[in-house]
């Protein structure tokens, strides 16, 4: 009787350990996983922000990029709130959604920045250099014509 009881006890212990061991990863994520996911998403948001700021500084229209970034940051805010409330599953889901939303974002911002830089260079050459040189040419040509007309009159 005692031997059977011990056997049952050991069997039950092994069963509980194996069930808990298998099911824990399926049922939820730990705080460290959630923290890591949020940190990744946070870092990506900052990288994207810097890319947008560079594009804007170059003169690009970044309004469509900012819409995406604002949506992603809302998801990140939800992730942080879920984390603070101990809801690590939701925190990971929101953080991952945020990261997925920002896939390819930096490339797009860099593309806009390059286009804006090319347009700004062209604009500078035409409207700044071209305009100043053109005005000087008008004055010089006007003077040359004036001298020519005076000599012809003599």
């Amino acid at each position: 009787m005692g031997l059977r009881f011990r056997f049952c006890l050991v069997f039950l212990f092994v069963l509980v350990v194996s069930v808990v061991g298998v099911s824990l990863p399926c049922f939820g994520v730990g705080s460290s996983d959630a923290f890591s996911a949020i940190s990744d998403a946070d870092g990506r948001v900052v990288v994207c922000y810097r890319a947008v700021a560079d594009a804007e500084r170059a003169g690009a229209n970044v309004s469509s990029l900012l819409e995406v970034l604002n949506e992603a940051s809302w998801l990140l805010s939800r992730a942080k709130l879920a984390y603070s409330q101990g809801d690590f599953d939701s925190a990971v889901v929101y953080a991952n959604e945020c990261r997925f939303m920002l896939d390819g974002f930096v490339d797009e911002a860099d593309g806009l920045r390059r286009s804006a830089e090319a347009a700004a260079h062209w604009d500078f050459m035409v409207n700044f250099v071209g305009s100043a040189v053109g005005a000087i040419c008008v004055v010089v040509c006007g003077y040359a014509l004036w001298v020519f007309l005076k000599r012809r009159e003599k």
Partner: protein, 203 residues
């Protein structure tokens, strides 16, 4: 030739100015000297008239929080949503804006927003309060704030009866923080807006 000289040089000058106008429009522009952020709240009709004051339990209200960026660059802001009663600390409102301090209360929710230079971002805020009235001690105990679909815990907040105003008054406010890329963190930007509410109870 001499009698047309003045006319000729005036014509040359006008043409030269016309050609130089794109150049001059850039050179003669007065540079921006003031860099700041605007923060304001409007009511549900986009006016500054009918802000909600007497609120009912679990009733939804809408306001619009707007952030105007005049900093000269695309800004990354953090809006901290806080709530206080009459005795809890408020953010400082006086003195130079750079030396103002935020409220020491914990933030209920943090919203991060990005605003391009010279742009205004309008954030619709829909909220409702859940609270209970302790008739015996004449207090209102808040349990949660539902803000844009997010449930926020307010279980530590209690409002006492304000005999002067004859109301259970609470202040919902939004503090603005600005991301500083050199230190990779947010600093308080010296600005907040908020609304006082009277939590109505049925006797």
């Amino acid at each position: 030739m001499k009698e047309y000289g003045l006319l000729y040089w005036v014509a040359v000058g006008v043409i030269a100015l016309l050609v130089a106008s794109p150049f001059l429009s850039r050179v003669l522009v007065y540079p921006r000297t003031e860099f700041f952020t605007e923060l304001w709240i409007l009511d549900a009709d986009h006016r500054a008239e009918n802000y909600p004051f007497n609120v009912t339990r679990n009733q939804s209200y809408t306001i619009y929080l707007s952030v105007g960026n005049r900093l000269g660059y695309c800004a990354y802001y953090l809006v901290q949503v806080k709530f206080r009663n009459q005795t809890q600390t408020a953010p400082t409102s006086f003195g130079p804006i750079e030396s103002r301090l935020p409220s020491g209360l914990p933030s209920l929710f943090n919203m991060t927003v990005f605003v391009a230079d010279e742009q205004v971002l309008e954030i619709p805020i829909t909220f409702s309060f859940n609270y209970t009235w302790d008739e015996q001690f004449s207090k209102v105990k808040l349990s949660s704030l539902r803000l844009n679909g997010v449930e926020l815990n307010m279980s530590n907040c209690i409002l006492s009866w304000d005999a002067d105003e004859k109301a259970f008054r609470g202040f919902l406010f939004f503090e603005l923080w600005l991301y500083n890329s050199s230190v990779n963190s947010f600093n308080y930007h010296g600005r907040f807006v908020g609304l006082w509410f009277n939590m109505t109870v049925t006797v």
